[in-house]
């Protein structure tokens, strides 16, 4: 890279923060990470690695400046770090909410989708493909693709399509094609496999926008870098508002993108406890025989293995077959997790905790009724954690509100109706009619 091509603007420098060096060289996080993909994809991955280094790390052609500007103008960044008064009172600690639900599209997913679609444009690609679980990543990608005028196809499991109809409609409104995936149980892992197949045929002109810090290098580092804007802002906002660092940062983990986004710039602040909240589903027990894990807690309950391009922690049986995972929230319903998180858990830097479906739903109702914020069911797991573990927390807690719950209202009606939740409204008028 030549002096003239790169920019030394403040924005360009931000991607050089120390907490973000991990994995950049070779895509390895200790024993995790790597590039386990079919040979047909390797040239595309090399091309992407090169583009990541030039545009993201070295701000060539002012890529990062344009990205930050679009995040501000199209995306609505910075998002606030808001004090949650009633939760603070309830838990007798200062609770601050990082409001990614206020980002355009209603979830943190836009940070990454916008970054990758813009990068694809800089690389001269002509078509975007993506997979989605909750539909949030698909929606964010569809929005970014429309914004940047790129044709886009989104793969989504059939079961998830039924769970997330509003997001399916949003993707179509934004001009994307939504392709249902019927293999397996029709959730995120099948959609990822299907998108990789499409990519293997179309690599020459197509970019695959992976939705989390998973997949082969450089995706885990690149997605982390795009999402790290969350912790970058949260750290500055915390210091400004409270005069110091938080004691704890809490975020829900599916693949782990909002988790790593919220943690990235705090990893080197050793006083800050980092807590990744996974979907405990209905139970942490697994049914080896049926190949089913009734949870999606791969950090907590998974074992090392290789899936979708990376070595990481996975829900798998003793033969190495990947298990069907489960969560009330489709965005957490994935049998793997980002390799960087797996590494940080082994190192003892990140603490994994599992919160079950019931507690997540309680968290959903609690944030809605006490703070006037309806969270995504994914995010609600973080609030389930607060309720169950608030005694372990320090005096100043940041919770990443990864997304808003509008997409989940149908699911919330149905799931709430099936349970006896102490803090839910009377559901009869919704389930029985008036």
């Amino acid at each position: 890279m030549s002096e003239t091509e790169s920019s030394t603007s403040e924005v360009g420098e931000l991607s050089r923060r120390p907490g973000r060096e991990r994995g950049r060289d070779d895509g390895k996080f200790g024993r995790y990470g790597g590039q386990y993909v079919p040979e047909a994809l390797m040239p595309a991955i090399e091309e992407l690695t090169d583009a990541y280094e030039r545009y993201v790390l070295n701000n060539e052609d002012g890529f990062m400046d344009e990205f930050r500007e679009r995040l501000a103008e199209f995306g609505g960044r910075p998002t606030p770090l808001q004090r949650a008064d009633r939760l603070s009172e309830r838990y007798d600690t200062e609770v601050y909410l990082k409001r990614e639900d206020l980002l355009h599209g209603g979830a943190h997913k836009l940070n990454n989708a916008l970054g990758q679609v813009l990068l694809a444009k800089y690389m001269g690609k002509e078509r975007i493909i993506a997979e989605t679980g909750a539909g949030q990543h698909g929606t964010a990608t569809a929005m970014a693709a429309a914004h940047l005028d790129m044709p886009c196809t989104i793969y989504m499991g059939e079961r998830d399509i039924n769970r997330q109809r509003p997001n399916v409609f949003r993707m179509k409104l934004n001009g994307s094609e939504v392709k249902p995936v019927t293999t397996g149980r029709g959730t995120l892992k099948e959609a990822i496999s299907e998108t990789m197949r499409d990519w293997a045929e179309t690599v020459e002109d197509t970019h695959y926008v992976i939705g989390s810090i998973v997949g082969p290098h450089p995706f885990p580092v690149m997605v982390r870098d795009f999402q790290a804007v969350i912790s970058e802002e949260a750290r500055e906002q915390a210091i400004e508002k409270t005069g110091g660092l938080p004691t704890d940062v809490v975020a829900c983990a599916g693949g782990g993108s909002n988790t790593m986004g919220a943690f990235a710039d705090f990893v080197d602040d050793e006083s800050v406890a980092l807590r990744a909240v996974e979907a405990g589903g209905s139970t942490l027990e697994v049914d080896e025989e049926a190949g089913v894990a009734p949870n999606s807690a791969s950090l907590y309950a998974g074992e090392e293995g290789v899936l979708h391009g990376a070595r990481t922690k996975l829900l798998q049986d003793s033969d190495g077959q990947i298990m069907e995972s489960h969560s009330v929230s489709s965005g957490l319903d994935y049998a793997g997790v980002g390799p960087e998180l797996a590494y940080l858990v082994d190192e003892g830097r990140v603490e994994p905790v599992a919160v079950d479906d019931d507690a997540a739903l309680e968290g959903f109702h609690r944030l809605s009724s006490t703070e006037g914020i309806i969270p995504a069911l994914e995010t609600a797991h973080a609030f389930g954690f607060l309720e169950e573990h608030h005694e372990e927390l320090g005096e100043r807690v940041v919770v990443n509100v990864s997304g808003r719950g509008d997409k989940d209202l149908d699911a919330a009606i149905e799931e709430t109706d099936q349970r006896d939740l102490p803090n839910a409204p009377d559901m009869s008028m919704f389930t029985e009619g008036i």
Partner: protein, 284 residues
């Protein structure tokens, strides 16, 4: 490279004339039928047989093989039963196991590829093809294969060039799997120009080149071998025969007969292609 291959049986399969390398999923639709199917491939002239060990997330596979893998998994196929199958099946052809890295990595009490390779060798497997393991990540498996005398076959894609190709060719043994076109597995009706280009690029490497992805007829096989391939790999077209048997509830023997007949056609096509090549050389 050809002369440094670990398995004599695989080297012999490519030694004189074109090799016919069929693929089937072990356990599709059930253990016993699939044994009859594989034995039929052998009667039909197979030189090497690629046995698919099913993985739940086969990202390099198209729908035909993916569905076959699901049928086999549903019928209870496991790595342990796969090895029993390799031991029991009665064939002359050399056996190669095709599977994904996680199954290899997880097998046995210690993590890492060594226990799997040791067990595979004991079961009479002569080589491995692992579609999600590029040369960059393959050192531990390569070492285990060398230790137990297995060949490690790499897939060369139409997009593989330069340093990556060199690195792969340093690591490959037995044969290279030349992917005929971009994408996933699945039978096609045409022979792509990408095949010819790939074979040209590989010409200087002294290792047998077997072309796969999309071959479905004797005529295909003929054109590919005439174009310079040392062997043909046929998967989806054979798996389609099994799938058709499942759909129409055909008896195992009938499916086996069809597999044998298609095998003869493919093998004969390959041989015609090979003859046309030697004739051209002689007349030149």
């Amino acid at each position: 490279m050809a002369e440094t291959g670990n398995s004599e049986a695989i080297a012999a399969a490519f030694a004189d004339g074109p090799a016919y390398v069929p693929y089937l999923v072990v356990g599709d639709p059930d253990y016993e039928s699939s044994k009859a199917h594989v034995e039929a491939l052998d009667r039909g002239g197979a030189d090497v047989i690629e046995l698919g060990l099913p993985f739940s997330e086969p990202i390099a596979e198209g729908s035909t093989i993916q569905e076959a893998l699901v049928r086999a998994l549903d019928a209870g196929m496991t790595p342990e039963r796969f090895f029993a199958f390799a031991e029991e099946v009665e064939v002359d052809a050399a056996l190669v196991c095709m599977t994904y890295y996680n199954l290899i990595y997880q097998y046995g009490s210690e993590t890492g590829p060594r226990p799997f390779v040791e067990r595979a060798a004991a079961a009479g497997i002569q080589g491995l093809v692992v579609p999600d393991l590029p040369a960059e990540e393959a050192d531990p498996l390569r070492e285990a294969c060398d230790e137990f005398g297995l060949d490690l076959v790499f897939i060369v894609a139409p997009t593989t060039r330069g340093d990556r190709l060199d690195r792969m060719m340093e690591n490959v043994s037995g044969y290279v799997y030349v992917q005929a076109r971009l994408g996933t597995t699945g039978a096609r009706d045409d022979v792509s120009d990408q095949t010819t280009e790939s074979l040209d690029r590989l010409r200087e490497y002294d290792v047998p080149k077997a072309v796969g992805f999309g071959i479905s007829s004797g005529e295909h096989a003929e054109r590919i071998v005439a174009g310079g391939a040392d062997g043909i790999i046929v998967g989806s077209a054979l798996v389609d025969v099994v799938a058709d048997g499942v759909e129409n509830d055909l008896p195992t023997a009938a499916v086996a007969d069809r597999l044998e007949a298609l095998s003869r056609e493919l093998k004969a096509g390959a041989e015609r292609g090979y003859r046309s090549r030697t004739e051209t050389v002689e007349s030149a």
